[in-house]
């Protein structure tokens, strides 16, 4: 006869409510772990999905995810000339916030190197990759945009032609993909008056420098569009993504490019680590600490519950001892209840979480590793929590029956 099961059957309602409470608590622990994993995933997803072997960024910067990085777009061609480089593509990324149909629309703008990169690698859930050099965009579903939606950005209107799932920045903003040129146009969208003033200022700066004085043609062009003046205009891109040819020693190519005095190179793993140690590090540590505290609190709460359940049975435990029950009978009664409570709580946490986590505004990512870890934690909590009850039960004297 299983005493623990009999006791639970007798107090089923109370036991179920207790298990529900513990389940909700464990759901918080699991959710915190999911938020933590989601944060890491979102932070590194773009770097992983892009699949570059290394990132070339402005000298002495940590790249576009950590700080402002500005490079001339034509660096792409210089990189293509390096032996072993298979492709070099401009990378533009920045965050903007606009209003769309009366609600704030915050998006992480990323440029695709059209026509080489149309976004075929993106996890599309609907629509298609970019089909033309301008005025099309692919939006992540976090942004709440539907296929065919028109989004005015800068001086242009973009049509949503594709929808992705789970593409977010490290801050959790949904990503929108444009061609690099459109992304730059959105980034450097300036009012007409500002552009006229900038052109006049540019002419003035050029006229006061040697190359402006000795090259009148260049001076004339200083008053034209920025795109016609790469040497004088605002640096255009955030980074250049480089892939090496198959069979090439990536480290050797990285060493070559790293020797250039105007750029810094980060490998794929280096960029990943920069993201984890930089952008999301504090949030990650904060969540990690909070998770530890939650586990600690859960242990205490569960220990108190088990202790209270044991206190309720003090008289029955004394009777069992009087009848000569071995310690294992009493320990089994308490431990089995604690384990069952933990197991039920775990199941409740899992099933409620499956339903609730997708409703969270940011990704909550439950991995099999997390589930195994929580199972281990629940086992440890159950055993640790039952220790207090067992300690109390061991101190119960058989003659307590007489009181």
């Amino acid at each position: 006869m299983n005493l623990a099961a009999q006791d639970i059957r007798h107090n089923l309602g109370r036991f179920a409510l207790t298990a529900l409470g513990i389940g909700l608590l464990l759901m918080l622990v699991l959710g915190m772990s999911g938020i933590y994993q989601g944060l890491v995933f979102e932070a590194t997803q773009l770097v992983d999905e892009v699949g570059a072997d290394f990132w070339v960024v402005q000298k002495n910067t940590r790249g576009p995810f950590a700080e402002v990085s500005r490079l001339p777009a034509n660096l792409e061609f210089r990189l293509l000339a390096v032996p072993g480089v298979r492709s070099a593509q401009s990378f533009v990324a920045h965050t903007i916030q606009r209003e769309q149909q009366g609600r704030p629309l915050r998006m992480f703008v990323q440029g695709l190197a059209w026509p080489d990169d149309k976004g075929e690698w993106l996890p599309l859930t609907g629509g298609r990759p970019l089909g033309q050099a301008h005025y099309e965009m692919i939006a992540d579903q976090i942004l709440g945009l539907a296929l065919g939606d028109k989004v005015p950005l800068g001086k242009d209107v973009f049509t949503v032609v594709g929808v992705t799932k789970g593409m977010a920045s490290s801050a959790g903003d949904g990503t929108a993909f444009f061609t690099v040129r459109d992304a730059l146009a959105i980034q450097f969208d300036l009012p007409g008056e500002t552009m006229r003033l900038e052109r006049a200022a540019r002419r003035h700066r050029a006229a006061n420098q040697d190359f402006g004085r000795v090259q009148p043609e260049l001076l004339e062009r200083a008053g034209g569009p920025s795109s016609a003046l790469p040497a004088l205009a605002t640096p255009l891109v955030s980074a250049i993504l480089v892939k090496v040819a198959p069979g090439t020693d990536t480290a050797a190519v990285v060493a070559t490019v790293s020797a250039w005095p105007d750029v810094t190179v980060h490998t794929h793993e280096g960029q990943r680590q920069l993201l984890l140690r930089g952008n999301v590090d504090r949030a990650r540590r904060q969540l990690g600490l909070f998770r530890v505290i939650l586990v600690f609190v859960s242990t205490i709460i569960m220990a108190l519950i088990i202790y209270t359940l044991t206190l309720d049975k003090t008289h029955d435990i004394a009777m069992l001892k009087l009848m000569g029950a071995r310690h294992s009978v009493v320990v089994g009664l308490i431990l089995q209840q604690a384990l069952l409570l933990g197991a039920l709580g775990y199941a409740i946490a899992y099933y409620i979480g499956q339903w609730l986590y997708p409703l969270f505004p940011r990704r909550v990512m439950i991995t099999p590793d997390d589930l195994w870890m929580l199972a281990g934690i629940v086992l440890a909590i159950s055993v640790a929590a039952s220790l207090l009850g067992i300690w109390k039960a061991m101190r119960v004297e058989p003659n307590k029956v007489l009181s």
Binding site: M1, L3, Q6, D7, R9, H10, N11, H315, D316, M319, L320, K321, L322, M323, G324, A325, R326, V329, E397, P398, N399, V401, L402
Partner: protein, 240 residues
């Protein structure tokens, strides 16, 4: 069973003394108590409150060891003062049965399970334990209440189940502390007669602490305690 084994007393208490506290707070609850109970004998322990009856009973039940003296049960020395000579828990489950004023049934077990648990604690297989528990409930006239939880049983029925539990492992000694105090006179007498029946039919010795003078005729022997001492004037059955 040979005659030597048959003649061995069920329980021998030799010079039992129990002292609580020390110095100014010292209280002598039991003083130099010596007595013997034979197998199959039903003995009453009488006396006013505070006389030391329960102290003696719990000492014999191996749950409240004496400060001095020796206890021998079924010919086996078990306690020498507060020093255990055997594994007390194991000895209790194999040789002793208890009944109290309150039935002390485990509330989350039904009647048959309350008896069954005593058997399973003593390593009887569950199926066999259940069969034996049902036999005992039948013997005590409560088999029809076997599936009821203690809450659903009357006081008398609860006490019968408690007696069944005490008998489960065929103990050589049954200790009962005011088992009829919560029962009316009719049911109280029924329980006392039950003890007599058990002792005489099964050979267990039964020691009953009682204030209930209405059913004293069922006892083979009556001892009286006062101020922690066992008085000399114990009476055999029929001389009351």
């Amino acid at each position: 069973m040979n005659s030597a084994a048959q003649n061995t007393p069920a329980v021998e208490a030799l010079g039992l003394t129990k002292v609580y506290g020390r110095g100014n707070t010292e209280v002598v609850a039991m003083k130099d108590v010596t007595f013997t109970v034979a197998k199959g004998e039903v003995v009453a322990l009488l006396g006013p409150s505070g006389a030391g009856k329960s102290t003696l009973l719990t000492a014999l039940g191996l749950i409240n060891p004496p400060t001095a003296g020796r206890i021998v049960i079924g010919g086996q020395p078990v306690l020498d003062a507060d020093r255990a000579l055997v594994n007390l828990a194991a000895f209790r489950r194999q040789h002793l049965g208890f009944v109290f004023q309150k039935a002390n049934l485990i509330p989350f077990l039904n009647a048959v399970q309350n008896v069954q648990v005593a058997l399973e604690i003593n390593d009887t297989r569950p199926r066999q334990a259940r069969r034996r528990a049902m036999e005992l409930l039948d013997y005590l006239g409560v088999a029809d209440r076997a599936d009821h939880l203690p809450d659903a049983l009357s006081g008398g029925q609860q006490q019968r189940v408690a007696v069944a539990r005490a008998l489960a492992n065929q103990p050589s000694l049954i200790l009962a502390d005011e088992p009829t105090a919560a029962l009316d006179s009719h049911r109280g007498r029924q329980v006392m007669e039950l003890f007599r029946k058990v002792a005489h039919e099964r050979g267990s010795a039964v020691i009953v602490v009682t204030h209930d003078h209405r059913a004293l005729d069922v006892f083979d022997r009556k001892y009286e305690m006062e101020d922690g001492r066992l008085l000399d004037r114990h009476e055999a059955a029929g001389s009351a």
